[in-house]
């Protein structure tokens, strides 16, 4: 009963978030003076030379339809919501015309999801484990060293870490290829092997940065929790410190860290876009870069819409785990 209320509320905010986000990206391009259709026609003219005015007018028409620029602003908006959000139909991609944007994103999305999810979850687990050690046993030398390393890595932007890894491991040491290649044909074995080989450096750069963050935040969190009354009272009850670490400090800090995980997903996604671009990993990040270079606005809008939906949904899922761990939400 209580849980359904929480769920209902959470679903409502989920829907609102997506709606506001998508509305924002619908209206933003329309506020800029540049018109993608004219840009496109300019490009075509540059490539194909002067065109027949009638032909050009027809081209302009069909481009307007494909860009969803036909009709009044409200009609455009409603059709964008209806087609884009509910049917994932963003029109044809202009760089690989006439393949629909949705189809292309569908082949690239899994790579990004695998990369982002594995590195985020792994970083969260490892970072929180180390952070807990560092916070609960503050005086140990290893705790201080781990924290020092974390402080030096976390603030560096994702792409710089990626760049450094690329220079060191791919260029100087030559252990990995400079650009990822994944063999989609040639059987399952080579595919998996090439996927892993291509993912290690991007994943590592994501891991380094976000693990650093989880270490730092968990350290400060758990050292705060370790000074709370209920932990002190547990000590005064003569409970062994290992037990206090596990059932008192860890369980109470993890609750906060789950919320933090939900909040951090957007940032993690930004990071994976950047590393994908640096390493030429075939994910949504690379797709966005290509789309930007070719002014493929349908593709850009599609990628953004899908990423907003994906991140909001992932946040929703993480938030739904929360009441399983915190009885205060379940029972009150």
């Amino acid at each position: 009963m209580k849980f359904t209320k929480y769920l209902g509320l959470r679903l409502l905010t989920w829907a609102l978030t997506i709606w506001i986000g998508v509305t924002f990206i619908f209206f933003v391009p329309r506020m800029f003076p540049s018109d993608p259709v004219e840009t496109m026609i300019g490009q075509i003219q540059a490539r194909a030379g002067q065109m027949d005015p009638l032909q050009m007018e027809m081209l302009r028409r069909s481009l307007r339809v494909q860009f969803g620029l036909e009709g009044s602003l409200l009609e455009q908006y409603l059709s964008f919501l209806w087609k884009g959000l509910l049917q994932w139909d963003f029109g044809p991609s202009l760089m690989s015309y006439p393949t629909p944007v949705g189809d292309i994103i569908r082949t690239y999305l899994p790579y990004t999801l695998i990369l982002t999810m594995t590195s985020t979850i792994l970083a969260w687990l490892v970072g929180n484990f180390i952070g807990l050690q560092a916070g609960f046993r503050k005086d140990r030398r290893s705790s201080k060293i781990m924290e020092g390393i974390a402080i030096c890595i976390y603030p560096i932007p994702y792409f710089i870490v990626a760049l450094i890894l690329q220079i060191v491991f791919a260029y100087i040491l030559g252990w990995f290829p400079l650009q990822s290649t994944i063999y989609t044909f040639g059987g399952f074995g080579p595919f998996i092997r090439s996927l892993i080989r291509a993912s290690i450096l991007p994943a590592l750069s994501l891991l380094l940065v976000s693990t650093g963050w989880w270490i730092i935040s968990m350290k400060s969190l758990s050292s705060t929790v370790a000074e709370e009354d209920f932990v002190l009272f547990a000590r005064y009850r003569g409970i062994p410190s290992g037990k206090i670490g596990r059932s008192y400090v860890m369980r109470n800090s993890i609750i906060t860290q789950i919320t933090a995980l939900a909040m951090s997903l957007g940032g993690a996604f930004n990071g994976s876009i950047m590393t994908e671009i640096i390493f030429g990993y075939p994910g949504v990040g690379g797709l966005i870069q290509k789309a930007v270079l070719r002014s493929d606005y349908n593709m850009i809008l599609g990628c953004i819409t899908i990423s907003i939906v994906a991140i909001s949904t992932a946040t929703l899922i993480v938030d739904l785990i929360y009441p399983l761990i915190d009885p205060r939400i379940r029972y009150s």
Binding site: T13, I20, S34, M263, F269, S295
Partner: protein
């Protein structure tokens, strides 16, 4: 001042020193007269470091040292502008939301939360790609500021909510203070302490976002920033040509600047909590 330094922790001291060093480079050394480092073929290309060119020159014959100084200047400038806008707007929206309550608060909250949750980079990509090439530092900063206000506003709102039920706010009202005066003289002092650490954080985030966009080729093409400097070097294959003095300095500078600012933030927060603890 001396007492502050004595009580400051190691991180805060290290952070202050590193940040001050960069401020010196970006806002003092920058004004030493020098040749415009952007122009191609001012010098001979691919020169190794020397007295004349402490960090050598690029393939296009630009002086790397002055390029770096201008990049630090511009990156810091963008960071500061974005942080200022983000903090001011964030504090305003947060206070408005926290004090008005009701429908206004709920609407503002949902919008704020959306901007916190949604991945910012793709949207920034969309916005900057629409004005490719034709931007100034200020426009760039305005675009980046779109995502800089949400987090501070969320924090300030919860601060305002907790403060507004505090008795001293009531005392202030019964002492004849009006709502604006209460907000400015009672709430703001508390919000400012917090805002300082957020300000540094926002500076850091803005510089990172600008660099990311630069790597995508979306930062203004004529803007010398740390991100663009790295991107130019990458485009001209500085890695393959092993021109470490070209691609190295902006990377090292970025890393150092970020660590410095971060040390400053965490050190400052620790310092505050220690001060409150006593």
């Amino acid at each position: 001042m001396r007492k502050f330094w004595r009580n400051a922790n190691f991180r805060l001291k290290a952070g202050i020193i590193i940040t001050a060093f960069f401020l010196l480079l970006g806002f003092v050394v920058y004004y030493i007269p020098h040749v415009d480092p952007f122009t191609y073929n001012t010098y001979r290309g691919k020169l190794p470091p020397s007295w004349e060119h402490p960090l050598g020159t690029t393939s296009m014959g630009q002086d790397v040292f002055w390029l770096l100084i201008e990049a630090i200047h511009n990156s810091l400038l963008i960071g500061l502008i974005v942080a200022t806008i983000g903090t001011v707007v964030g504090v305003f929206v947060g206070l408005l939301s926290g004090f008005s309550g009701g429908v206004v608060d709920r609407v503002l909250m949902v919008v704020t939360d959306t901007f916190v949750v949604v991945p910012s980079l793709p949207i920034l990509v969309l916005m900057t790609s629409l004005m490719k090439g034709s931007t100034t530092i200020l426009v760039m900063a305005l675009v980046l500021a779109v995502f800089a206000w949400a987090w501070p506003s969320r924090q300030i709102r919860s601060l305002a909510l907790s403060l507004k039920e505090r008795d001293f706010i009531h005392t202030a009202w019964f002492s004849g203070e009006g709502t604006m005066e209460v907000v400015v003289t009672e709430i703001l002092p508390y919000a400012l302490t917090w805002s300082l650490s957020n300000f540094m954080n926002a500076t850091l985030a803005a510089i990172a976002s600008e660099s990311s966009l630069a790597v995508l080729g979306l930062s203004p093409a004529n803007l010398i920033s740390l991100g663009n400097m790295i991107q130019w070097a990458r485009e001209r294959n500085a890695i393959f040509a092993q021109q470490w003095f070209w691609i190295g300095p902006p990377i090292v500078a970025t890393v150092l600047l970020f660590i410095g600012l971060f040390l400053l933030i965490t050190g400052y927060n620790d310092y505050l909590s220690m001060k409150r603890g006593r």
